[in-house]
Symmetry: C2
Subunit: 291 residues, 2 copies
Amino acid sequence: MTALGSHAADTTLLAEVEAALAGTLDAHELAPRLREAMRYAALGGGKRVRPILVLRACEAAGGRRADAMPAAVALEFVHCFSLVHDDLPALDNDDLRRGRPTTHKAHGEALAILAGDGLMSVALEVALDSPRRGAEVARELAAATTGMITGQVYDTLGGFPGSPDAATRLRLIHDHKTGALLRAACRMGAMAGNASDADLAALTEYGRAMGLMFQVVDDILDETQSTEHLGKASGKDRDAGKLTYPGVFGVEESRRHVERLLAESLAAVAPLGEAAAPLADLARNLATRTR
Amino acid sequence: MTALGSHAADTTLLAEVEAALAGTLDAHELAPRLREAMRYAALGGGKRVRPILVLRACEAAGGRRADAMPAAVALEFVHCFSLVHDDLPALDNDDLRRGRPTTHKAHGEALAILAGDGLMSVALEVALDSPRRGAEVARELAAATTGMITGQVYDTLGGFPGSPDAATRLRLIHDHKTGALLRAACRMGAMAGNASDADLAALTEYGRAMGLMFQVVDDILDETQSTEHLGKASGKDRDAGKLTYPGVFGVEESRRHVERLLAESLAAVAPLGEAAAPLADLARNLATRTR
């Protein structure tokens, strides 16, 4: 059993994703140093939650997994771009990511900025290559990317409209910063699988609940686990005075949030039956993950 | 007569572009501080060569100008994103752009990085809104953006494949860094105007020759004009040891390059007749511009 699911096929799935990520970068016309930095940023491991969600959502909607691979690769590239830019000295100033030096530490700040940019533009090219409903898939990705950047601005620089309380600010940050891409993962997968409107709606609701749950778990882990265990700096959000679920609601109440959001995720995909079983497993495993 | 054409309609055209750029940013859901920085980066003047090219190429192909406005806005946003990131301390470290402080000087480095990111993602959203051949327009934009980033890597960090001579390195830099977007401007306009294959090919060739000419003129101006006159740092490329046309070929030979590329631009659009007259004027004016 892997960290992300109990199905034996998960190892195969992860290998397919890794091969598609590497293959896409190798096939693209890029300056050699740019390719090297983009490979470093995109192929450094990671849980691959987003591409796996895309593929599983496609299958849950009755689509063929191969049809969703461009969407899966595209979304993971956007996620990797966001990590590279968020880690920069002017933003979160992180030295460690996935247990090794961040891209700007390994390749310098100039190349890290450009590699992030390149991952975003290649991502949009790849999304447009989706064999089914490509324009719709790409539009979903571009809009989610804008939403994620808005979330990063709220998280790093504040400037909320009006004077919302801490719980509202926290919701605004997470809905955008993490939620946008996780919701988009489910929607892009559904579109690539040519989902019916009803299935798209069910997978959107799953993505909303599961995406928020993912972030609450992340906040709890940041508060309770060691840097060594996580492979990235822990306790950093709290030290930086950032809003987190445990900070606003306490660890125990945050754990109850997780349980409620897990139940909502499972209820959302229940009507899809056995085809959505991997998504249900994924949500359960993400709820109980320890890194 | 404006800097970019001799047609009386040019002032109207420029006003339409400015209104569309501002209107697009104001209508988009964005964190307030992000919107502010993106407005600063995108609405700070500039010659608007790229959006005007998009609109004129659309008309040259027999299309309606309004159909190309999303493509025009999208391309200008990508251009503005590239300026914001190129100006960052880790890259060109410029303090002055279009006669005023660069975005990171005015809004801080974190917001400048994120505003650049946001301009790219919104650009792709907008390109997909093109009423005609939207997916094709967006794919052209995404590919040109990747090409431009490759050019910036060559320009800033080198790492050319093989050991090309100076003239080849210069060509590789400019073909990508400036050429990609100017060629894309003509192609995106043609697509938005639902051009025939022959017209698209003619406008592509115009974009290639005119795009290279634009950059040679830029290099000559950087070498021969004052900072005050240009509204941005001059002589900087030479001081930084960057490859430029005057540096490799001398000013006089570079001027002959400009004349030859102008002739190629005019020849390319001659078959389009009167509908392409504004593009011919534009090329002539860009060849003789002094800033």
